[in-house]
């Protein structure tokens, strides 16, 4: 059910010709993925997914649609040859992946499972032991800071040219 929601709205998001509807279908697809995370009992990831993707990136995309597009305007129709070729390539890739997937059998480990609760996640994320993730955490924070500063620089640079 959740998978059907995710896949159908994903297909509609890449095929509808009204760009605003595409953004709304993308929103439903992301909510479906968050529901799959809830179903796998990874509550923290589901919450992060809803906050960052559904709350952040979709709103950012909708704002950029409003800033760059006349709402209600249809996207131009693509060449049918290109669409057929893309569908063929994508179908071949999907078939190849499925073939590999059903020929392979995964063997689960038998170790003691670690519950994905927030306390365990926090311990691991800021741990400096062998299985800690303190260094990637810091690197990702620096990357986010650099990306934000880069956005401001890119957005400010064309001000004298336009005004």
């Amino acid at each position: 059910m959740l998978a059907a929601l995710t896949l159908v709205s994903g297909v509609l998001a890449v095929t509808t010709r009204q760009i605003f509807r595409a953004a709304i279908f993308l929103l439903f697809s992301l909510i479906g993925i968050a529901g799959l995370y809830f179903w796998m009992q990874y509550d923290f990831i589901a919450a992060v997914q809803i906050v960052v993707y559904v709350g952040g990136i979709t709103v950012l995309i909708i704002f950029s649609i409003f800033l760059t597009q006349q709402a209600g305007e249809l996207l131009p129709k693509q060449k049918i040859g290109r669409q057929i070729f893309s569908a063929l390539a994508v179908f071949c890739g999907f078939a190849l992946t499925m073939l590999q997937l059903f020929q392979h059998s995964f063997k689960p480990t038998t170790g003691q499972p670690v519950l994905p609760i927030v306390a365990n996640i926090g311990d691991r994320m800021l741990g400096v032991a062998e299985d800690g993730f303190a260094l990637p955490f810091e690197v990702v924070s620096m990357l986010l800071l650099a990306a934000l500063i880069g956005c401001i620089v890119i957005a400010l640079r064309s001000k004298p040219a336009t005004s």
């Binding site: 990831i45 800033l67 760059t68 957005a155």
Partner: protein
């Protein structure tokens, strides 16, 4: 009806990945291409979480990779939208055919 397991999740995420790739091939608008990339990144996250749950439940590496991928995707979307809006200001269009001057 059998219990859904790892293979079902992998089928879902592969389908989502190729939906995103199809959108990336066919769309010619920068914002919709960005949306296709988001679909692809989400399918990768779904794969990480599924492998973490069903194959290595005694470690949490997949979960942390998913968190880092989400953070990097947020940064990437912000930078891409800044570039798109800047391009729209100078060209009044966000089709990729009109953005050829960005190659230099």
């Amino acid at each position: 009806m059998m219990e859904p397991g790892l293979n079902h999740i992998l089928v879902i995420s592969a389908a989502l990945f190729f939906i995103g790739v199809f959108g990336f091939f066919t769309r010619r608008n920068l914002v919709t291409m960005l949306m296709s990339i988001e679909l692809v990144l989400n399918s990768v996250n779904l794969n990480f979480i599924a492998f973490n749950k069903y194959v290595w439940p005694n470690k949490m590496d997949g979960l942390f990779f998913a968190i880092f991928v989400i953070a990097i995707a947020a940064a990437e979307a912000a930078v891409a939208i800044a570039i798109i809006i800047n391009l729209y200001r100078s060209h009044h269009s966000i089709d990729v055919e009109n953005a050829e001057e960005m190659k230099f």
